[in-house]
Each structure stands twice: as structure tokens, then as C-alpha cells.
Amino acid sequence: MRVIESGIGELIQIPDMNAFREWNRTQKSRKLVDKLMTEQEAIRRFVYDGCYIGTELYGTVRCPMSLVREVIRQGIKDLRVAGQGVTELDLWLAAGIVKTLDITYIGLEVYGVSSALRRAVESGQVEKVVEWSNGGISWRFKAAAMGVPFLPVRSMLGSDTFKYSAAKIVECPFTGEKVALLPALILDVGLIHVHRADRYGNCQIEGITGFALEMARASKRLIISAEEIVPTEEIRRYPDRTVIPYYLVDAVVHAPFGSHPGEMAYRYCRDEPEIKAWVEASKTEEGARAYLKEWVYDLPDHQAYLKKVGRERLDRLVEGRERRE
């Protein structure tokens, strides 16, 4: 297969599938063991300086925000981050802990461009930026999930998004047409928030699944936070709803309202005033720093965070949830 063109972006980690198989054989237990622990313990045990890390889904939707805040609280730095984000990657960027980005989209959706991203990237504080599309990065996780080193796709062709990526264009050996090869992306650590999990890490999600299935299978270490911890009998009653089986999971954290200020389908809606508070605060470096102090550094854990948000406000978010009518 002839390589016609190579993207000039850096391939942050070589997709070594034999090493990944070996890792999954030796480092991932098949035992049904209790993995329930706190945010502090999960992050302390599995997240480290310079690790290649990703979060799912994104910022305001089913996002593991309690884990994201704990990463900042523990002073972990030089992260290599894959993916797309809204408030979660904004917090990491504002905290100055991101060194390398496989970026698809970082912005504030309806509220526009991310000021935290602009400051961190335009100043050169983020040292490397590699471009991908949302489909592209999801297919890279999918390739790892399939246990293959790359996937051929018909996206990103002809664009600068390709040029500044680490993809390659080849001639298809069957049809002769050009296709883009996306390298598999194996994360050191994945963070995913779900509706319910048992103590072993069997996970169930309601509503859209984003790229949870693919990322869970592409992560060497996987930390799950869950709105609810359920008995395994409950999982066994609805095994068809399990999308992440326990053996993929290294830690299970009970995090009610773990996606706040984002939403959780059928449980609570997003907290618009709190999202706007970040949008405003993050416009300046000082504002972002003050926000991080108030909502992350000055609070010991997620329980203290929820207490600060307040029961009344959380009840309102539950009231505003999407309902199955």
C-alpha cells in the first residue's frame, strides 16, 4: 500500500497492538473484585504526570466532572489530552495542566469560542496541537477497540485538518481510490461517567452513548464515575443494557450529580447559570483562577462541591430533566 501523503502532526503514541494485548492479558484482572473507591483514590492510583488521557462525553453532557476537578486538585500536570471538550477541558486548560492536545473541538458551543483554549494555545503553553475531526478521533478509539493499528476512512481528505493530523493517505489496494488511514489511539487513562454501575465496574448508560463504548475499550486504565451504584443482581437482570463490562474497568467512583454543571439524560438537566458563570469567569486569566480556587482548590471533594451547589438548586435540575413521556 503506497503512502501518498502524511499529515505533519505528531503521532502522540504509536498504536502497538501486541503490547496492548499483552497489557490486557497481564494488567487487567478478570476477577470480580470490588473496585469502589473515592475520586481521590482513583485519581491518585491511576492518573499521573504526562499521561495520555481522555474524557467522555463532553463538558455539559454526561461528563465525569467530579473526576476532572480531582485531577486538578491533585496537581497532576503535563497531560497529553485526546479529544473534544467544553467545560472539562476548559478547566484543565485554565489550570495550566495540558501540554499536548489531540484536538477535535474545544469551545463553549452556544457561548462561542473558549477563552481558556485561546490563552493556553496562543501563548504556546500547550506545546503541541494535533488536529482531528470528531468522527476521526472516535474511529481512532474504535480502531484500538477492534485491536487493529488503523482504520481507513473517507473523512478528513483534502483538508488542512488532515495536513495537521498524524493520519496518512494511501491508495486503497482493492479499488485504487484514496483513503485516509487513522492510527489507533490507545489511552493511558480514560474517564467516563455513566448512569449506573456495580462495584465491579459493569456499566449502563441511558440515552446516547457518544463514544463511551469505543473509548472504554481503547483505555489501558479506565476510571468510571456513576450516578448510582447498583447491586450486581440489577446488572444481571438487564445484561442487555451493559455497554462497558467490568474487566475494562479499574476504578468505580460513586458520583451523584457527577456531570454537574452539565446534564445527565433522564436524571437532571444542565445548570445554565453555573455554565454561564464559567463562561464569564474564564474570559480573563484572573477570573478563571478565581473560579478554580472557589470551585476546585478550596473544596476538599465532590461532596463538598455538591454542598456548595446546594440541595435546592440540585432539586431544580432534577425537576428540569428530560422525561420519557
Binding site: 463532553y58 454526561r62 496541537v129 472516535s138 474504535k142 476512512v153 473517507r154 483534502g158 485538518t161 446516547i208
Partner: protein
């Protein structure tokens, strides 16, 4: 534009909404496309199937989503899957239209939403990046671009091709390996409705927005447009469209 019955956002929404057909699949992004789709579902296209990148298919847009992944993107929907399923659906040719925006557009409909300035890193201005836009522009059958009109947005050459339009002209998409028969169909702007010339694939003026002259469109465009001899004026938003938009679609005035 001199009329004060509606604002530029409402004009963009109504113009885009009229292009949405019934019983088609359309890839919908945040903002104006959502409002246009919600309006179209209440008028000519009750069975328009909105598709959202993170997995929502066939939602009934009773309340406006604020994000492309939130629960309203599958409210009373037909399916809630994930991003790979949606992008693969587009790759197999099941998604008829895609709606796109950007900070810059060039004569071939190439779009930039990544950086402003000549250098990729560190850039003068960092924008969000592709998100799903590149996939939509590559894989949906036809795309419709919604963008505010000025010489800053309509530029001879975009600083960065985030999302491919017709690239460098006729045959360039196919040469790059993109599926044949795809590419931008319309550009909906605050000053005009534009299309692309069949032969040259360059942008062509189709209609001016109400109260806007051809000279104004030309003056606000940073490259040479193809101007046919006959140019009609787009119908302004009707009272009924504005009523639905304000009283039903965006009751809380989040966007308009």
C-alpha cells in the same frame, strides 16, 4: 435589512429553514440549524429527521437543545446511538443534508473554524477546531452553510481548510478521495442566498436578502462572485414564521 420587523439572526433562521425538505435526513449542529430545523418541523417538513453527531436521530424539537449531545437531541426520538454510528451512517450515504458554519469561507465553499492567521502553532487566534464539521462536509450528500456576510468572513483564501468545500475547483473533491456527488449546495448569509456554479464550482449569487442590493453583496464579499443577469429578492420572514419562531421555537429567546 432596513426593516425592523426581524433581526439578522431571524432572517438567517427563516432562510435556512425554507431549504429544509420533508422526509429527509439532515445533520444538525448547535445554534441556527437547530432553530431552522425546529421551525421547518412546524411548517413544511413535519417529518424532517434531525441527526445529531453524538447519537440523536429523529428528535421532535419541542424544546431547543443547547448542546449537540444533550437529551433534547433525542427527545421523543427514533434512535439514541453514538457518534461512530452517526458518522458511519453519513459515510454510507444515508444523510442527505448537513448544515455548517465557520469563521471564514472562500469562493469554493471551503470553511475555516480552526485558526486565524498564517501559522498553525502557536496561532494568532485559536478557534474551536473541526468538531464534526469535517466529517459532515466530507460525507453528507449536500451541505448548506449558514454564515454572517462580511469581507472578514468571505475571503479569497481561508487561513485553514477545516472542512472541505470544492477545494480548488472542479474534480478536486473526487481527486482528494471524497465521495462523488457531494459538496456545498447553498450558502445562507445575512445579505444573500448563494449557490455554486455547476462548471467552475465557484460561488454564485442566487438571491439578495430583502432591502439588500447586488452592489452591497459585492462590496461585502472579499472575492469575485458569479452574478447572473437576473437576481430575485428573497422573501422576507413572514409574520407566521416569526410568530412560530418567537412563540414556539425559542420561547426563552436564547438565540433570537
Amino acid at each position: 435589512m432596513s426593516e425592523e420587523r426581524y433581526n439578522p439572526t431571524e432572517l438567517l433562521i427563516c432562510t435556512a429553514s425554507r431549504l429544509m425538505e420533508d422526509e429527509v435526513t439532515a445533520f444538525i449542529g448547535t445554534g441556527i440549524p437547530m432553530l431552522a430545523a425546529a421551525l421547518a418541523q412546524r411548517r413544511q417538513a413535519p417529518n424532517l429527521i434531525p441527526i445529531f453527531e453524538f447519537g440523536g436521530t429523529g428528535a421532535i424539537l419541542e424544546d431547543l437543545p443547547m448542546a449537540v449531545g444533550e437529551a433534547r437531541t433525542f427527545h421523543k426520538g427514533l434512535a439514541a446511538s453514538g457518534i461512530c454510528d452517526i458518522m458511519e451512517t453519513a459515510a454510507r450515504g444515508f444523510i442527505d443534508y448537513g448544515f455548517l458554519g465557520g469563521a471564514q469561507i472562500d469562493p469554493y465553499g471551503n470553511l475555516n473554524s480552526t485558526i486565524i492567521g498564517p501559522r498553525h502553532h502557536p496561532p494568532k487566534v485559536r478557534l474551536p477546531g473541526s468538531g464534526g464539521a469535517n466529517d459532515v462536509g466530507s460525507l453528507c450528500w449536500r451541505t448548506i452553510i449558514i454564515i454572517r456576510h462580511s469581507r472578514r468572513t468571505f475571503v479569497p483564501k481561508v487561513d485553514f481548510i477545516t472542512t472541505p468545500g470544492y477545494l480548488t475547483g472542479p474534480g478536486a473533491r473526487e481527486e482528494a478521495g471524497l465521495p462523488p456527488g457531494t459538496g456545498p449546495l447553498y450558502v445562507v448569509s445575512t445579505l444573500a442566498l448563494l449557490g455554486f456554479d455547476e462548471e467552475s464550482k465557484r460561488m454564485k449569487l442566487l438571491k439578495t436578502q430583502p432591502g439588500v442590493t447586488v452592489d452591497q453583496v459585492v462590496a461585502e464579499t472579499g472575492f469575485e462572485l458569479i452574478i447572473p443577469s437576473q437576481i430575485e429578492t428573497n422573501e422576507p420572514p413572514s409574520d407566521e414564521e416569526l410568530r412560530i419562531l418567537r412563540e414556539e421555537v425559542d420561547r426563552q429567546r436564547l438565540y433570537i
